[in-house]
Symmetry: C2
Subunit: 99 residues, 2 copies
Amino acid sequence: MSKRGKPEFDELILSRTRLGIISALISGDKLEFTYLRNALNLSDGNLSVQIRKLEGAGYVRVEKMFVDRKPKTFCEITRKGRRAIRDLIATLDRIANPD
Amino acid sequence: MSKRGKPEFDELILSRTRLGIISALISGDKLEFTYLRNALNLSDGNLSVQIRKLEGAGYVRVEKMFVDRKPKTFCEITRKGRRAIRDLIATLDRIANPD
């Protein structure tokens, strides 16, 4: 809790779409952009925006590589990204079980 | 997970402001609107909107009463509201610990 009694939530991870991306990546696999887009049923634009936000926060690492001479974008969760979801769970747990 | 592999998050509770309101109410106390507004550092308008959303979902009960002849608005978490936060924790836990 902050001084004002307001719990500190990580705004960046508190989004259904971004939690969906983090969830898909949490196993540790590098996932391809198109795969993520289809699995999460998102538009290219929305997935790009959300990935960029997660990348900016250091929660996701993005790597571009050529596969069969075609450029592909791969995403991977970082240690910081894992910590972010664990911190969110811990904060919620403290809230739900205040004693 | 849904058929598409997308985890099911309760959009209604996935908001920093609404989680703040739920957190403030979780002890079970009936809290007055002005108290909540100050504790969470929100505007009247924003708090009203968010409370109405939580009330609409059945997560919060709103009661108007007179105290010293002045109308006051009290908010209280419902059983459904408690369940919502527990479900969110459970979903996140499953995501963070997939085995």
